[in-house]
Symmetry: C2
Subunit: 336 residues, 2 copies
């Protein structure tokens, strides 16, 4: 079959091969999902029906926290346990996403060539808004293809990226000692979304101070209970652990695997899994609706939309009233 | 009139006093707008019709850049020119927003007691999404009340805060020497949205390096032309100036006032004002539509919305299809 002919394969026809775990079709569907053409939607709908089995783990932390290194060590360890590991990297500073320094590249190479580790990096430039959608589609594809767990790596700053992490069942927040006095998770606004904290670079002398600071902060937070994922019922309480890891010695990686598994078990057995699934679905639904509005908006630039905007500029219509007109337009477009 | 009776005044009945520039009604309407109850909407619609006259200037920069100090010096200078200055502060680290250190508090006090400077700080905690809407409503209120210019102070990180700055006609990005090697505007992702750059703390020895770096970066950017506000027509080109200021000596404040006025004149005379108004209106429209969806979503938790989410969790409906159902629900709610 020629390259041209292969390119003409409909996305929806790739789905059976994706579900069978075949590498090339998975890669092709991932690319098409990222481009986000309408043609791929029936395929994604089919994929979505088959997804929902994998444990989705978000791994976040500021640049320099050592999360990329941790991620590669974690993936290697999970492979040692015979698990098929999917990785979606949305961190522009990550070696998985096309960064960075030579050392990181070598670590990434530790993972390449293994068909049971699938690494997909997402472009973060120029796709604000679309990024969250494309990332979650990618997670669905790897999930449906039988990868479990699926790890999402993202830098823990920016609303879009927090949204991505909030799509995970379990969220690991990585902090490193010596990146300034403040707790990085607090600075990045992700303290509350952590199910598991990791302090990386445990071989460093100042790591213990970071661990102590973090535990102190968590004790305060336990009383506040304002986290997006805060557990409301007292009988189902997850005590956020702080795991110290060292990429050099490999220390703490096993404990991290255990804690991720423990959190998965906790979600299932406490009945909070359904609750978290609802939160994830709610956010995703809202995001999809916003994306629809934005897309329709872009298509409508020359038509009714231009009139609505002119009315706004001329101060004849308030933005809220204009927004109702926009929603009406989008609905009509959906009826066509 | 008792306090109880005063509280029962309808928001829409406050509008004439607001338009007349009366302080207490302005403050009251601002509070109600921030709370965002449905009751205030008719008042905001009326306010919106009377707004659109003020020059809206966004002032942004990372914490520590000295933008709060600059803002107070700028406001005092503008008062010296007999202008009525409105300030909306959405920076949680700003003394205007209830920060910070004693020195900043004293600077803020320089401005208090003058009825022709109105300072409004917006709560940024717990109002993600609602923040941008509330801030723009506050700008409208001060605008309609006759304040001109209206200055928006925001920390230049986070999607929500960038959105706020993008609602300004002119955007001032403040950088300080010695906050790390990188250009702060680049780090914060706001280089492209600057109409005017300020390098604060010009009395510092390393200020010249920051100025040189920034000018070099701008020369590169002039060729790239990727900014949200990039001017497309060659005959209407704004050359982004770099203004050096010193809060200690007051140096550069007059030049900053001149540059802000020059940019206002440029927008008017080049015909790009309308273009920028379109961009601002577009963003605000989209944001308002998203807020409507979110609000309706919150109201619908127990009804049809819960069913849609359950269908998603059960993998029966893809998020995109579910989003169309959500938009249909919101539209129906609007018809009621």
């Amino acid at each position: 079959m020629s390259v041209r002919a292969r390119e003409r394969v409909r996305s929806v026809d790739l789905v059976p091969s994706v579900l069978a775990g075949k590498i090339a079709p998975i890669a092709r569907l991932l690319s098409r999902a990222e481009q986000g053409a309408d043609e791929v939607l029936p395929a994604l709908e089919e994929i979505y029906r088959h997804a929902g089995k994998a444990h989705v783990v978000g791994i976040t932390g500021v640049p320099g926290s050592g999360k990329s290194t941790l991620l590669s060590k974690l993936a290697i360890r999970l492979r040692g346990l015979e698990r098929r590991v999917g990785i979606v990297a949305v961190d522009p500073t990550s070696p998985f996403s096309g960064g960075s320094i030579l050392g990181d590249r070598i670590r990434m190479n530790d993972l390449s060539g293994d068909p049971d580790i699938f690494i997909r990096s997402m472009a973060t430039r120029g796709s604000l808004g679309g990024l969250a959608r494309a990332t979650l589609d990618a997670v669905d594809i790897l999930d449906a293809a039988g990868y479990d767990p699926v790890l999402i790596e993202t830098v823990g700053v920016g609303q879009d990226e927090v949204e991505v992490v909030q799509a995970a069942h379990s969220t690991v927040v990585v902090s490193a000692p010596g990146l300034g006095d403040d707790i990085q998770a607090v600075k990045a606004g992700v303290l509350e979304i952590a199910d598991i904290h990791v302090v990386s670079k445990y071989d460093r002398a100042d790591a213990n101070r970071t661990i102590t600071d973090l535990k102190g902060m968590l004790t305060l937070g336990a009383h506040a209970g304002t986290g997006a994922h805060a557990q409301s019922s007292p009988q189902a309480t997850w005590k956020t652990p702080v795991v110290a890891t060292s990429a050099a010695s490999g220390e703490g990686i096993d404990e991290l695997v255990d804690q991720i598994d423990a959190h998965r078990t906790f979600l299932r057995e406490s009945g909070t899994l359904r609750q978290r699934q609802r939160q994830i679905a709610q956010r995703r639904l809202l995001k999809a609706a916003e994306d629809l509005l934005r897309d329709e908006f872009m298509r409508q630039q020359e038509g009714d939309m231009a009139r609505i905007i002119s009315d706004m500029i001329d101060r004849e219509v308030h933005p809220s009233a204009a927004a109702r007109q926009l929603i009406e337009l989008v609905r009509k477009a959906g009826d066509r």
